[in-house]
């Protein structure tokens, strides 16, 4: 089956998912990102790699944080950025997704950064662009439903590499709502591709999708066993609407069973790092003492996120 994110020469044309992305491509993105990290410290925080290019941030689902980081990344690459909060405009007027895309393409977009509540929506857009001879327009998936959040997965890998240097001897635990998490899926694909020998998923049965083991993951329902001797802990955000209902009885009970406390962190290796894609729910999935403690690298993730998004956009724009 043709992988729609690669062009005829096997180069990255769109970034839709980490699944199936060769290790070399991932490492190339991480290496490119390293060269961009220092730009943020300069007085003039800009490089001219995407001067004259138009990047459209198409957010069909609200997100301030991710949209802002893409906006900053585009601006540091000297691109023109147009933010469209479509959750509140065309689609509520009944315009179809592909009509919106055709209209924006007619305004000579070079890149779409897409966030959508439906898994697979960026694929539909990429396929449509390819089918309508607009394959010069690139699509970056900024999070689709439960499916993928590839730039988050890549920035997580950048962060892990920064602190741990090597992937080949790590044990990584991903904790919380795996079922609804696109971040978990992208992290799992990235970690297994980069050769991490043990990836664990930790959560209650109601928040673990079926067939997870087939993604190369060891499943734990007991957090104490799940965190034992791990090098990296990735905590996931628990959405408000899922805190009480048929999946979980309450946020308090979730914290009691799966929240990351200093005592539980002590089960991990002494030099373990704690990550979180944000925004955090303190006292639900993570204790403040851990979130603000010495093991947490959560703010570094944010900083690296901009460099990784610059790397992705500049590589796509060059292909």
């Amino acid at each position: 089956m043709h992988n729609p994110q690669l062009n005829k020469n096997g180069e990255l044309q769109h970034l839709l998912t980490i699944e199936g992305l060769p290790k070399a491509n991932i490492l190339h993105i991480l290496d490119t990102a390293s060269s961009f990290v220092s730009i943020g410290d300069r007085e003039v925080k800009k490089v001219p790699l995407m001067r004259g290019k138009s990047v459209f941030n198409l957010f069909f689902e609200n997100s301030t944080r991710t949209r802002t980081t893409f906006e900053i990344a585009s601006k540091r690459l000297s691109a023109d950025v147009i933010n469209l909060n479509i959750a509140a405009s065309s689609s509520s007027k009944g315009e179809s997704l592909l009509d919106t895309i055709d209209n924006l393409s007619a305004m000579h977009a070079d890149m779409f950064v897409v966030r959508h509540a439906q898994s697979g929506a960026p694929y539909l857009i990429a396929k449509h662009l390819n089918d309508t001879q607009q394959s010069h327009v690139h699509v970056v998936n900024a999070g689709d439903g439960r499916h993928a959040h590839p730039t988050q997965g890549l920035l997580d890998m950048y962060t892990i590499r920064h602190y741990k240097k090597d992937f080949s001897n790590l044990t990584v635990a991903i904790v919380g709502d795996i079922l609804h998490s696109r971040v978990a899926r992208s992290d799992i694909h990235a970690l297994t591709t980069l050769g991490v020998p043990e990836v664990r998923a930790v959560g209650p049965r109601t928040l673990l999708p079926s067939g997870l083991e087939q993604m190369g993951v060891r499943v734990y329902t007991d957090i104490h066993q799940g965190l034992k001797d791990v090098d990296v802990i990735i905590m996931l955000r628990l959405q408000n609407e899922r805190m009480s209902g048929a999946l979980l009885p309450s946020a308090q009970e979730f914290f009691k069973s799966y929240g990351l406390t200093p005592e539980r962190l002590a089960l991990a290796k002494p030099d373990a790092i704690v990550m979180h894609p944000g925004p955090m729910n303190r006292g639900v999935e993570i204790d403040s003492a851990v979130a603000d403690g010495t093991h947490a690298v959560i703010l570094s993730q944010v900083t690296f996120g901009i460099a990784v998004r610059m790397a992705v956009m500049s590589i796509l724009a060059g292909n």
Binding site: Q118, L124, A148, S210
Partner: protein, 426 residues
Amino acid sequence: MNIHIRNGRLIDPANGIDAQQDLYIVGDRIAGIGQASAGFAADRTIDADGMIVAPGLVDLSARLREPGYEYKATLESEMQAAVQGGVTSLVCPPDTDPVLDEPGLVEMLKHRARSLNQAHVYPLGALTAGLKGQALTEMAELTDAGCIAFSQAEAPIVDTTVLLRAMQYAQTFGFSVWLRPQDPHVGRSGVAHSGPVASRLGLSGVSPMSETLALYTIFELVRATGARVHLCRMSTAAGLELVRAAKKEGLPVTCDVGAHHVHLTEIDIGFFDSNARLTPPLRGQRDRDAIRQALLDGTIDAICSDHTPVDDDEKLLPFGEASAGATGLELLLSLALKWSEEARDQAALPRALAKITSDAARVAGLAAGRLSVGSAADVCVFDPQARWTVAAGALASQGKHTPFLGYELTGQVRTTIVAGHIAYQR
């Protein structure tokens, strides 16, 4: 008109015929097989050299989209698709707009279909008013208007008391109840088989339990009421195991499978291909193997097209938002032949044809799907070698979406005869 179909290989599963025999039609009836009736003079001779002459196909589920959804398909387009696919009798579910829950609507549909003079149309009446699962419909009146059985289509009854009453009432008059086994709650919001593919793609799942939970309830109600139940669109290995046991127990149940599920699995969703968004969802490899086994051992009585035309606006959407369904009338024959080819044994072809002719007719209680002298002259003549590629342009149906787009299939209809009238020829 008198028609002589000569030199063909005649396969009639109902009568156990598979031989080089000529077929003679007088008026709307079959007048002779192997030899002409006395005084037969052909007005029209069809040379079927190299062709197979079979009963016209009987499709247990084809949505014609009338009334209410004419933007998706019209009776004209879909009836043309039927005869182009060799289908001469089709059963249509009641989930139109308005729902087929009143005799007047059924009479209008039957009248519209008759005036087109193509395939025979056999509507299923709604089991409950508006398919809402609350009040029973006038089943006797609907039967007089032309309904052959009663169904909830894709709207499972939430209140089990209503289902119990509906089955008791139907049994009183000897009407059949057609149900797709699906739990009203489990898997209701799902769009793909719960399994590794859905987990990977982040699609919400429909557990096989949705099918088995419903089957447990239905079988218990069949035991209590004695109602005759036909189970539509079986999809799971576990569900088929329950049907097998129920048949062995002697319960009056039959079942069918959609042609897609005989061939495809969750893997065919690929990268979110909304053409593979079907109801029930495409299942796992093990389920598909169980479907094929159940076809062989007779647990599954019939294969249907589950023809569901969907327009572009409702398909060119993210997978989870796209409407479920695929066009199927013109693929039914080829997909049954594909199964027989893959089975590779002597009896494979007649057996595959039985699933789309005589067995399907038996399930629906129709005097169709056979080539006996004196029976209605519904005939399908097809070229078993001809290969064709599934493409939007090759389809008469207004529905152009199918997970088989781009597939090369074998078997092409040359002539379709409905009640002695040549409805299609290529």
